[in-house]
């Protein structure tokens, strides 16, 4: 009797999990698909940047000399008009024409960056929050300091990467909150999926494409979910961690402002790194000598390395200091081993101690996700993990639709039809949109004003077209058949991917023979990936056509009675 009731409880628990998995997965699967797909592309964000901005196709450069390159570039920087306008409501009175009180100047680079990103924060007179800085950023060629035009869009790090974590919905950080919530839901979907899947290990190698219908879709869903389970779990988890560190835990900043300020001051006093300007002007000692000294100290610790991050705080003030951080190329970390110098004299203030165990875990977890390390194999394995996640979600959609569409057809419901059209848009439509921005990037004239905005519009226009197309072609789903839009959009992917490769060749002269011959893998890699995409999409379209023909000729009865799942 007891075992019987246990069984009943087990059954209903499993059913509850199935309900959760199905509906949460369906609703937020659309967001997760974008997070996975654009996350996979972001693994090679710098390489997409090279492809999209041909003037930056040269070898990665080390951090350049401060005196020769960085100082003149920093001195040229000023916030954009948009940044000034955005700040205006948070200031009493007028905004100044120029910002001269520098809060911080910094430069960031990795082993994959030919160009160097610069950031400058300025104090704003009469700001309602005196600690709030106004920011400017710039990208320069570190060999001679030439700035890149502001409106050339870095398609990888400036578009695919923000798509991955914010869907580029910047209004009140809405996109970041949606993606963060989806990461939480994904953890729930993973756990419920594991609970539902009774033969997790027994079926780990199971994929039966010959079985057709629902069985093969479910196999692929389980396979891609289970083999990459550690990847899915850790990326959802660490993504959530990065999100919460940035948007949830800074209650100190938003709710406990006074306490936060006090803590910052105490910490600054303990570290010897001033929190505020002294208000006394002071000169700047030789920054290049400080950098050289920092590199000597890393070498003495047995971890010689390159500079990843250089920061000048309170520039021109007696409290000013210079921090030099080592690039985390050979570690699962972004940067580290910071060494700090007094700006006016160049004397050493402090060397950051070895991280505490907790600090090390935090560093590992964020470094694992943000991956600024040098390891090409691991990069590709991350792409594989991301794509497996995308396949897992896509097959989840297909399973949802396939399971219901005949029943819906009988009842005259349009539910499966709508979900199917959305699934087409999210799966093939997303690939098309990503290809659309690459094609637009190569087609638009170089001197077009606000060129980057037009590239973004092309992305959204292609995606919207994919939605319209999927909707218009979805009528067969309501009759229990499959949507021809899947097949047609696969062919569109083939066309756009080949067009992107051809346009890169025509507009820059960099065809594959040349880029591979010269060993310039950032561009050759993107081109090869585009060709591979075309090949996979072509093969899929062919297989879909074969299946559609077979389905039309086969009696419906043979495709019944497959699985009872979800």
């Amino acid at each position: 009797m007891a075992s019987h009731s246990d069984n009943v409880v087990g059954q209903s628990f499993r059913q509850a999990m199935a309900w959760l998995h199905t509906w949460f997965g369906l609703v937020l699967g659309f967001v997760l698909m974008a997070a996975f797909f654009f996350g996979a592309l972001s693994v090679f964000d710098r390489e997409f940047d090279r492809w999209a901005i041909p003037s930056t196709r040269f070898e990665p450069q080390p951090m350049p000399s401060y005196e020769r390159i960085l100082r003149p570039a920093f001195e040229r920087m000023q916030p954009t008009r948009q940044a000034v306008d955005a700040m205006r409501p948070r200031v009493e009175g007028e905004m100044p024409a120029r910002f001269d009180t520098v809060g911080s100047w910094s430069a960031y680079t990795t082993h994959r960056d030919p160009v160097l990103a610069l950031f400058a924060g300025y104090q704003v007179p009469n700001a309602k929050d005196p600690d709030e800085l106004i920011w400017a950023d710039a990208t320069i060629d570190p060999r001679d300091g030439t700035p890149l035009p502001d409106d050339s869009l870095k398609v990888g790090s400036g578009f695919f990467y923000p798509m991955h974590y914010s869907l580029t919905l910047d209004w009140k950080n809405l996109g970041i909150w949606i993606v963060g919530l989806s990461a939480l839901v994904m953890l729930a979907a993973l756990v419920s999926g594991v609970v539902m899947h009774r033969k997790l290990f027994r079926e780990i190698f199971t994929f039966r494409p010959g079985k057709g219908g629902l069985r093969s879709v479910l196999d692929l869903h389980n396979l891609t979910g289970v083999v990459a389970l550690p990847f899915h779990f850790f990326f959802a988890f660490t993504g959530l961690l990065i999100f919460s560190a940035a948007y949830f835990f800074p209650v100190g900043h938003t709710q406990l402002h006074d306490l936060h300020d006090l803590h910052a001051e105490v910490e600054a006093r303990e570290l010897g790194l001033p929190h505020k300007r002294a208000g006394v002007p002071a000169g700047l000692a030789d920054v290049d000598a400080m950098v050289a000294d920092a590199q000597r100290r890393w070498e003495a610790r047995g971890m010689a390395g390159d500079v990843g991050f250089l920061v000048l705080q309170h520039v021109g003030d007696a409290n000013g200091y210079v921090s030099v951080y080592r690039a985390g190329t050979d570690r699962i970390a972004l940067v580290g081993q910071g060494i700090h110098y007094k700006a006016s004299s160049g004397e050493l203030i402090r060397e950051d101690p070895v991280a505490t165990p907790v600090g090390k875990v935090a560093e590992f977890l964020t470094g694992l996700h943000l991956q600024h390390f040098r390891h090409w194999l691991l990069r590709w394995l991350y792409v594989l993990g991301g794509l497996l996640g995308a396949v897992c979600i896509a097959t989840g959609f297909v399973f949802f639709v396939e399971k219901r569409k005949r029943q819906h057809a009988k009842q005259g419901s349009q539910g499966a039809r709508i979900v199917d059209a959305l699934a087409v848009t999210t799966v093939t439509g997303m690939v098309l949109a990503a290809l659309g921005i690459l094609v637009a990037n190569r087609l638009l004239p170089l001197d077009l004003p606000a060129r980057g905005d037009w590239e973004r519009y092309a992305f959204w226009a292609v995606w919207a077209l994919a939605l319209v197309h999927a909707g218009l072609r979805s009528a067969p789903v309501a009759r229990g058949l499959s949507n021809p839009a899947w097949r047609e959009q696969c062919w569109a992917i083939v066309a756009l991917a080949l067009a992107a490769v051809a346009l890169n060749w025509i507009s820059t002269g960099d065809h594959l023979l040349r880029t591979i011959g010269a060993g310039y893998w950032p561009v050759a890699g993107v081109d090869l990936a585009l060709l591979a995409t075309a090949a996979v999409a072509g093969a899929t379209a062919t297989a879909l056509r074969r299946r559609a023909t077979a389905a039309r000729n086969a009696p419906v009865a043979t495709r019944r009675g497959e699985t009872a799942h979800a």
Binding site: R202, I204, F205, T206, F207, R208, P209, G210, L223, T224, V227, A228, P230, F231, D330, R331, I332, F364, G367, L368, F373, H375, L377, L378, L381, Y382, L384, G385, L388
Partner: protein, 114 residues
């Protein structure tokens, strides 16, 4: 230890060992043994295959540790296991008998028995 070519060979070896390890683990399972040989491996063979599989996966981890800092090596290993599992699953789906090459002695014995 991160010297270009040498590290590359070690990582290639780690990937191959992962694939072989996952292949042996799959062959030890009744359903996949049937796909490859038409009948599952005997109890003794299955035990041997599981042992081989587990040691191969451990060897792959060691190879990864030889190349990279431990924090990175663990990630490479876990991801290589995922890649290997997908490869083995797809091989079983379309070219199951290829996996038999990982354990030629099993087929020989099955041939004698049949």
């Amino acid at each position: 230890m991160h010297d270009g070519v040498y590290a590359g060979w070690l990582l290639a070896a780690a990937l191959l060992t992962s694939v072989a390890g996952m292949g042996w683990l799959a062959l030890a399972m009744q359903v996949h043994g049937r796909q490859v040989w038409g009948q599952p491996a005997s109890v003794g063979d299955a035990r041997l295959l599981r042992l081989l599989g587990a040691s191969a996966l451990a060897t792959a981890l060691l190879l990864c540790l030889l190349v990279d800092h431990a924090t990175m090596a663990v990630l490479v290993w876990v991801m290589s296991l995922a890649a290997a599992a997908v490869l083995v699953a797809f091989t079983l789906a379309w070219r199951a008998h290829w996996l038999g090459a990982l354990a030629p002695w099993v087929r020989a014995r099955a041939g004698r028995a049949g």
